[in-house]
């Protein structure tokens, strides 16, 4: 795509593109890092509710101010996000309604209210209102220098806090009860990390939009998890995947007309997840399948060798040749293994197409027999 390459080129030359590019990279990194905590703490769905609940906050802020102001929009989003969260907690604590249901209620109700406000604003004769609809599905092209500045500062601050409380947050996520016994204030840490996750969500709303931000929070982390078993590495990888999805998605949507950035970024991120699911060497489905096939093959070889052993020991010489036909009557015999067994030196084939056990093969089969009957 000519326009795609144009965009990437422009990233380095054009000021606006640079700003946008930087913004999406910052977003990706912050989403990746804090999203890892959201995933590990099973707060995935909460992120969705908070993102949707942010919409009325942004709309109300606009109604109050009359102009678009990223910082105040952020604050408005956080406020309604927090109100929504408190209400969710209230519902789960005081009624028999389950968390999932409560999330769904808050999500849809707050969002619906936000839409009402949006349509109200549409009727106002205010030239500034055009940008608000972009908060639904995101539009990275609207990122200004001050927006990126806010994202970078708040995002950077959040990452700094994560770095400072690294071990505490890790402990809290893995074993909060144990953390309590060590004397750590788990309430404080809980509030801290949840707040940081809220900030990460709200920072991404301009780029990815309220409807899809939660997926942007989860996908880089889900992908990263497949490549490592160490939390530190996972978080760094998630940051990288997030940035990659951010910049790639933005580039793709910029080169197409009428395309919101939210859905494209999410699709790139989800693609990364799918690729990780399949191709990761440690957890991936492909390597799982390969390992399965390998072990099945090994099992078949052992069985075949055992069968041959059974035949061989009935003769006074273990290496007396026998016909292959003979083996067909035995269960556990697999013709496909013969070549491998020969290559590995366990059996030999005589010129007149008969098989016999080698010394190596005999000893190996003996070992297997002993092991099996231990």
């Amino acid at each position: 795509m000519m326009e795609l390459f144009d965009f990437i080129q422009q990233l380095f030359t054009d000021y606006t593109s640079r700003t946008i590019g930087l913004g999406t990279i910052v977003l990706g990194i912050v989403s990746g890092v804090l999203g890892s905590y959201a995933v590990l703490r099973r707060q995935s769905l909460l992120g969705d509710a908070i993102a949707h609940a942010a919409l009325p906050g942004i709309a109300i802020t606009f109604l109050i101010l009359g102009v678009k102001d990223s910082l105040f929009f952020l604050i408005g989003a956080i406020i309604t996000g927090v109100i929504g969260t408190l209400w969710i907690m209230g519902i789960t604590r005081f009624t028999k309604i389950k968390t999932d249901t409560a999330l769904g209620i808050i999500l849809t109700v707050f969002f619906g209210f936000g839409i009402v406000l949006l349509t109200l604003i549409q009727q106002m004769d205010n030239a500034n209102q055009a940008g608000l609809e972009d908060y639904l599905f995101g539009q990275a092209a609207t990122l200004m220098e001050e927006d990126v500045f806010i994202m970078a500062s708040l995002g950077g601050l959040s990452l700094l806090v994560v770095g400072i409380f690294w071990k505490e947050l890790k402990l809290l996520t893995f074993d909060p009860q144990y953390a309590k016994t060590l004397g750590f204030n788990t309430r404080f840490l809980d509030v801290l990390i949840t707040s940081l996750i809220v900030i990460a969500i709200v920072l991404g709303l301009q780029t990815v939009g309220v409807v899809l931000m939660s997926a942007m929070l989860l996908a880089p982390a889900a992908a990263a998890r497949q490549w490592t078993n160490k939390m530190g590495v996972m978080i760094i990888l998630a940051a990288f995947f997030g940035a990659l999805a951010g910049i790639t998605g933005t580039a793709i949507s910029a080169s197409m007309a009428n395309m919101s950035t939210g859905p494209t970024i999410v699709m790139v991120a989800v693609t990364l997840v799918v690729l990780s699911f399949i191709f990761s060497p440690i957890r991936g489905l492909l390597s799982r399948k390969i390992r399965e096939l390998k072990s099945r093959k090994t099992l078949r070889k052992s069985k075949t060798l055992s069968v041959m052993y059974q035949v061989a020991i009935n003769h006074e010489n273990y290496d007396h040749p026998h016909s292959f036909q003979l083996l067909n009557n035995f269960r556990g015999f697999h013709k496909s293994c013969i070549r491998e067994l020969r290559n590995e030196g366990y059996i030999a084939v005589t010129p007149d197409k008969q098989w016999k056990l080698t010394k190596k093969g005999f000893e190996e089969a003996q070992n297997l027999y002993v092991q099996k009957n231990e």
Binding site: K170, F174, T181, K230
Partner: protein, 247 residues
Amino acid sequence: MQKPYAIEVNDLTVAYRFKPVLWDIDLKVPEGVLMGIVGPNGAGKTTLIKAILGIVKPVAGSVYIYGKPYHKNRSRVAYVPQRGSVDWDFPTTALDLVLMGSYGRLGWIKRPGKKERQGAHEALEKVGMLDFKDRQISELSGGQQQRVFLARALLEDAQVYFMDEPLQGVDATTEKAIINILKELGKAGKTVVVVHHDLQTVPEYFDWVTFLNVKKIATGPVKEIFHDDNLAKTYGINFQISEATQS
């Protein structure tokens, strides 16, 4: 002056939504004792440990460790939770898990350094898991996971240990290894309290036992109080030791 009890619990009452789970528990455990806590399901054994450690808030009661209120003497206490209380799919290695045991002494923000890593290696060796230090914890067997949990607590170098069903679902070798470590702790003057799931092995493993069923039925040296009468009071009228040892 009389030496304070290693663990002293007074009038501990815990309720969940106003349904009592533990009632008026009094416990005085002297130093160096290896004590098992037994009782039927739902008797409140895990709740007792959690209430003592402040994980669960009691309706009433107080806990003292060596004469001081528990929350002022945390550094002297180590905890091994139930194995099922964490998600073992969490991305961390055995060594990293054990290292968490040093977090308490490090306090806020400070990171574990060489000294702590050294300690973690030693703790892993003590439980026979040094070879697995870089293994992802989900790849460990139940018994191995339990040992790693124990190593984490050992790293805390505490004087009082609370363990919740550490022998539940582990293989025979691990069970023997853990009991040996506990007995060594006892010999070193540490006090160990274990919620135990298997009545049969109580006389063999523990010096003291506490019978619990919402209320404390009895507590004391196994030789004195581990008999049919207390068993009946805890588990029900027709329960007898002979039944327990036969099954």
